[in-house]
């Protein structure tokens, strides 16, 4: 099978590289894509500094993001062939050794624009604008507090994401990579008075850092082997051009070349929340809902997919790399789906579904349908945004209530219709209901999996699809359908779940900023214009994205991610896959309908029965506790390391400092101490010492010197 993939690859990306070789200089106004979020960031900062308590920061951000979307559209319109747009110098080191060998390390702020870039940028800035608009209403209660801070964070994110996608070299990509991580840290920790949010932000950054390290190592290895970090440039010395030219020897680098795809993979796993680094994403739901929608569902987490798609030629450097990606993706999809099934918090369910869908995308990359992966990214961005935003709307309206057991019959409540129905569309897409956007994109991946003869993976994914359909509609049937009943959340406005996993909670007094105000809302307030508008627009986008398959394929196949693969033309795809997938989706929905709408009690009964049986008790327990992965990490990695660190600190203090350093420092003291008895105050003993000293001197000069002299002369070379 691997051989087959290899074969199909051989000519695959060469076409793209040919395109890359003829890279032209692009328009410099494209730089505004970066400058606008930056300006927005600065202006938001100014607003914060001037303590402007209006919605001004939101309008600044929305405006600048909208303009930058327009710029992207303009760029898209004027696109003919891959473009190179230099903006600024960043790293520019040149040297020449004494024997004339020259070298350089060049990585500037510059754009490399091909169709993949445009595809990504379109939905990133488009969704970014919309979600910022949504947030302008959603964050309303914070106008007097962190409003400007929030929108500055959104601006930072858009800036970094644009860097990531538009970069023409890996270092700038790395800047964007870490930048989105930082923006994510910023926004997850937005409610900084909550220890759980702070912990989640920290966790996100650190786990991401592990992935970043993989990426960094990959970048260094690429530079180490190929001497460049640029994708392509006019001189033809870019990475893709080198790879395409065949001027490098595949086997020359040995492990240092073959390790590259695995390291890049690690980076992608970190950013896109795959096993083993997915644990940060569910916790990241501590952030405000628009952030979850934008960063942790639609855009940032797809950066890993982008990286692998972009670096597809590099991923070929080891034959086992892509299969690994596929398997990891598949396992992640399954694991996250099983966890998602057992959660009660809407946002957490969506978070796990995101992890699961990202797994699908990685499978797509892994089985070499970058088109399928990108298509799924594209559709997923829309429907997952819808899902999060509806969830956010619920949370907003029900004072932070997100427990699916405590809200019911949303669609019957006044003012909630748009929310309920847009959520249904999202759910259908996510569940892969036949003819929905998710159905097509997921099917593309599934079919390819079977096409490359990975049936086990395929059936695993199909099973995952079943679970997906189930848990998706579990939410919808619970929340939107059924009799009307609700319980308000504890907060005046919703900010994620309230069951903090509060070991970090230090028992402080009520945080001053989030103390419940006098008028706790007892009535849900339905979303107003901005939220509804955005929901509708994105839902329309989600529906339209159903038909975007060929458009996405066009984008993908004219980029470095292109796989000139016969399978893309559906000929090798087994025809039964879409039927089976569709059936499975419907089956999942039916099961969900049974347990969560028709007879809601039976779900609890089933759970109780499983718990009662000691043989099956582990299943719901482990699923509800997320398979104890966090605990596993805590006990297997963090705690030992922490103990080790303590041991090191003790070692530092007592062994190095006390024993060695102070010990050496005490040597003179001890020596002095040992001579201390001589200082006994008795005159004659001093005289004895003096006589002894004179005697020694005589001994040295008269007796020993004649013998020492030749040796000394030898040592000091004639005693100049």
């Amino acid at each position: 099978m691997t051989e087959a993939v290899q074969l199909s690859l051989g000519s695959g990306w060469l076409a793209a590289v040919d395109a890359a070789r003829s890279v032209i200089a692009g328009p410099s106004w494209a730089g505004w894509i970066l400058w606008l979020p930056l300006i927005s960031l600065v202006l938001c900062g100014v607003c914060a500094a001037l303590k402007i308590h209006t919605k001004l920061p939101a309008w600044i951000t929305v405006g600048s993001l909208a303009i930058s979307f327009v710029v992207i559209v303009a760029l898209y319109m004027s696109y003919r062939q891959p473009m190179e747009i230099p903006l600024l110098d960043w790293f520019n080191l040149n040297w020449r050794s004494n024997d004339g060998q020259a070298g350089s390390f060049v990585a500037g702020f510059a754009f490399y624009v091909d169709k993949l870039t445009l595809l990504w940028m379109l939905f990133v800035t488009g969704l970014g604008t919309l979600i910022a608009l949504y947030a302008s209403e959603y964050m309303e209660p914070d106008v007097k507090r962190g409003y400007a801070r929030f929108f500055a964070g959104i601006s930072v994110f858009l800036f970094a994401m644009s860097c990531l996608v538009l970069a023409d070299n890996l270092v700038m990509l790395y800047l964007g990579w870490e930048g989105v991580g930082f923006a994510s840290y910023w926004l997850i920790g937005y409610y900084y008075t909550r220890p759980s949010a702070v912990a989640a932000a920290k966790k996100a950054f650190i786990v991401n850092r592990i992935g970043d390290l993989g990426l960094a190592l990959g970048i260094w290895l690429i530079y180490y082997n190929f001497g460049t970090v640029e994708y392509a440039n006019a001189q033809g010395t870019g990475l893709f051009q080198i790879l395409a030219s065949g001027s490098y020897k595949h086997e020359a680098g040995g492990w240092s070349i073959q390790a590259i795809p695995f390291l890049l993979m690690l980076g992608a796993f970190g950013k896109s929340a795959q096993i083993p680094l997915y644990v940060w994403l569910p916790d990241a739901m501590e952030g405000p809902t628009p952030v979850s929608a934008l960063i942790h569902a639609a855009t940032m987490v797809t950066a890993g997919v982008y990286l692998l798609a972009r670096m597809l030629p590099v991923m070929e450097l080891h034959p086992a790399a892509l299969p690994t990606v596929a398997w990891i993706g598949g396992l992640t999809a399954l694991l996250a789906a099983t966890i998602g099934m057992a959660q009660y918090d809407i946002k957490r369910i969506w978070a796990y579904s995101t992890v699961s869908q990202l797994g699908f995308m990685f499978v797509g990359v892994g089985v070499l349908t970058t088109y399928g992966a990108a298509f799924h990214v594209f559709t997923h961005a829309f429907f997952k945004a819808v899902l999060f935003l509806t969830g956010g709307a619920v949370m907003h309206g029900f004072a932070g209530q997100l427990d699916i057991r405590k809200i019911s019959g949303l669609r019957h409540m006044p003012g909630w219709q748009i929310t309920a129905w847009t959520m249904l569309v999202g759910c259908l897409c996510l569940a892969g209901f036949p003819l929905s956007s998710g159905f097509f994109s997921k099917d593309e991946i599934l079919a390819q999996v079977f096409a490359v003869h990975r049936p086990w993976l395929g059936f695993m994914l199909l099973f995952t699809a079943l679970l997906t359909a189930y848990y998706t509609f579990r939410v919808w049937f619970r929340v939107c359908a059924g009799p009307v009943s609700y319980e308000m959340g504890e907060e005046h406005h919703g900010h994620g779940d309230d069951h903090h996993h509060g070991k970090a909670d230090t028992g402080h007094k009520a945080p001053p900023r989030h103390a419940p105000p006098a008028h706790v809302a007892h009535q849900p307030h339905p979303p107003r214009f901005a939220i509804n508008f955005v929901l509708v627009v994105i839902t329309v986008g989600a529906i339209i994205s159903t038909f975007s398959g060929s458009w996405v394929m066009d984008k993908v196949s004219h980029s470095s991610a292109a796989v000139l693969h016969a399978a893309d033309s559906h000929e090798h795809h087994p025809g039964w896959v879409p039927w089976l997938a569709g059936t499975i989706a419907v089956a999942g929905i039916v099961v969900a309908w049974h347990f969560h709408l028709a007879s809601r009690k039976s779900a609890d009964a089933l759970r109780a029965r499983l718990l009662a049986n000691p043989l099956t008790r582990w299943l719901p327990t482990a699923m509800e506790n997320k398979w104890y992965v966090d605990e596993f990490y805590e006990w297997m990695i963090v705690t030992p390391l922490w103990i080790f660190a303590h041991a090191l600190y003790l070692f530092d203090r007592y062994v190095i400092d006390l024993l060695f350093v102070d010990g050496v420092a005490r040597l003179p003291k001890w020596m002095g101490r040992s001579f201390q008895p001589l200082q006994n105050g008795v005159l004659q003993s001093y005289a004895v010492l003096m006589a002894g000293g004179v005697g020694l001197a005589i001994l040295l000069v008269v007796v020993l010197m004649p013998h020492l002299r030749p040796w000394l002369i030898g040592f000091f070379g004639g005693g100049g």
Binding site: P677, G681, V682, Q684
Partner: protein
């Protein structure tokens, strides 16, 4: 001038001191020095101790003069003058100190004065 003339004749006529004679003088000097040292170390009376230092000066002076004679160079004798000077100065100061110390403790025992010692540390 008579004895001076004799002395000059004596000086001029006599050969320089032989090595044997020199060594005899030196051994005498060394013996005196060692005895002075022993005295300084073993006696406890401060005045005797100073006398012993004078004895050691004396020994040094003998060695100086012997070498002066051996080399027929009077510089050695000049040095003895300096030794005398130092001895005189030392006698003046040291004896003054001895008197002072004696008035403090009413004893000439040198062992009494041992305040300038390192207090034993555990």
């Amino acid at each position: 001038m008579n004895w001076a003339a004799d002395s000059c004749a004596f000086f001029a006529a006599v050969q320089p001191l032989g090595q044997l004679a020199l060594s005899h003088y030196l051994i005498t000097s060394a013996a005196l020095f060692a005895i002075g040292l022993i005295g300084f170390l073993s006696r406890r009376n401060m005045i005797i101790m100073f006398l012993c230092t004078e004895l050691m000066f004396q020994a040094a002076a003998i060695a100086m003069i012997a070498f002066s004679r051996f080399h027929l160079d009077v510089s050695g004798q000049v040095f003895v003058i300096f030794i005398l000077t130092v001895a005189a100065a030392e006698a003046a100061l040291a004896l003054g100190l001895v008197v002072l110390l004696y008035r403090r403790r009413e004893t000439l025992n040198a062992d009494v004065w041992s305040e300038l010692r390192e207090t034993p540390t555990p």
